[in-house]
């Protein structure tokens, strides 16, 4: 099992994904190579990747999906029955469900290319990892190291770690109340120009997911369906 880690962040070595990669390999005995989608020519990197059996992509969630720069690399890859692929997504949003869209896309991508699925880790609430003191990140880093060492043992991204990272799937009303309370205490004068009306209208659009992500409840579609969405196919 030869593993290559690909950092798909446009920030390359400066971003949170870099920290994620480093912590992940930190838990391993034989540390795999890390390559950067932002630094290398996609065709050359894709050719280099052919030598490895397993690929692990670490990337930040950019507008509901992988960054454009990583998509550019995907476009250079070839279908193969032998490759095994895992993904570690970190997002600024705390809730894991924000990554459901990209999970569906990635699963489709794996299926299309014939890659075997090593699992998808979705880590939410990671916007500040880079700036936060070490002890505030302790839990995240410990989990990543555990994921690294378990990956080395079992050759897959551990299901338990995936569950732990994706624990906060969606906020409950109670959590929302608490968040709003703390927000109102700490930043009293930030007047949100928030037009909830616009949002409420927008949130009427229901979301049809391609396939429910395993291990998580299906996406909530409590909002009333809006009639303007029309799909002609």
């Amino acid at each position: 099992m030869k593993t290559l880690i690909i950092n798909g962040s446009p920030n390359g070595r400066k971003g949170n994904s870099e920290i994620f990669c480093r912590k992940f390999v930190g838990g391993m005995q034989n540390q795999p190579e890390i390559h950067y989608a932002a630094e290398e020519d996609p065709a050359a990197l894709a050719a280099y990747m052919d030598d490895f059996d397993n690929w692990l992509f670490f990337f930040p969630l950019y507008v509901n999906a992988m960054p454009g720069i990583l998509k550019r690399l995907f476009e250079q890859l070839h279908p193969s029955e032998e490759k095994k692929v895992g993904y570690v997504i970190q997002s600024g949003f705390e809730e894991a469900f924000q990554s459901d869209w990209v999970c569906a896309i990635l699963k489709n991508f794996n299926r299309r290319m014939g890659y075997q699925d090593l699992g998808i880790v979705v880590a939410g609430g990671m916007a500040g990892v880079r700036y936060m003191p070490e002890r505030m990140n302790k839990k995240t880093f410990a989990r990543l190291e555990k994921a690294g060492s378990l990956y080395e043992q079992n050759g897959v991204l551990d299901e338990e770690v995936i569950q732990q990272f994706g624990q906060l799937y969606r906020y409950s009303e109670k959590q929302l109340k608490r968040i709003r309370f703390f927000r109102s205490c700490s930043v009293p004068t930030v007047v949100r120009k928030c037009t909830t009306t616009a949002r409420q209208v927008a949130s009427g659009t229901t979301i049809g997911m391609a396939a429910p992500i395993s291990g998580r409840p299906p996406i909530c579609t409590t909002a009333p369906p809006i009639t303007t969405v029309e799909i002609v196919s």
Binding site: P67, G68, E75, W101, R111, R192, G208, I231
Partner: protein, 218 residues
Amino acid sequence: MLVQTEGSTINEVLAAGGYVLLCALGSLGATFIVGFFVAKIAAGLAMRLREKVFDKTMSFSMEELGRFSTASLITRSTNDITQIQSFVAMGLGCWSCWWTTPGKCVHKDLDEFYREYLAADTVDVYCKVSQGFVTSNMKAMIDRMIVLVLPYISWDNGESYHDPRYDKYPSSVTVVYNGEFLPGEEDAFIAYWKRTMDMLFVKEICIKKYEAAQEVPQ
């Protein structure tokens, strides 16, 4: 009448002393209150300044952001403002320079795109399909549209979302796509576009295949 006056009683001395003590305490209380308001004003100003600096920083494109070091940005928004705060608390204030920050967008082309996009009521997107998803160029474009919303987060309906930066966004977006899908991919593709446009506060989202778009009666 009092201490050096013959015939004054100790009670009279104590009564007058009591007034003096009362005045001193009153003065102390007033000092506290003044201190409170001074601190409040200075802190309020510092907070507004920080907010402004933060907003300005967040309005930078990734390219501009790359030109400043993180350390410098943090110093600007913490230490420098603390200096101003202490000046204001002392009764000085010269912070007008903080309202203007250098930095004009380098990407004139995308500037124009943003302007045109925001001015439009209806937007038509024509996109190719690549591996069951948008092309990398289109994805990079979508990535860069994140500046159209604020970095702030609000919560609604059990989820967090970015606050709008502008009062008005295009109300209707039509995405016309052209390309082949494998089973399951089309749904994920459509769901992705819907979600993305939903985040950009678009109210009417229509996603259809290229051939189908031709058949729409005029």
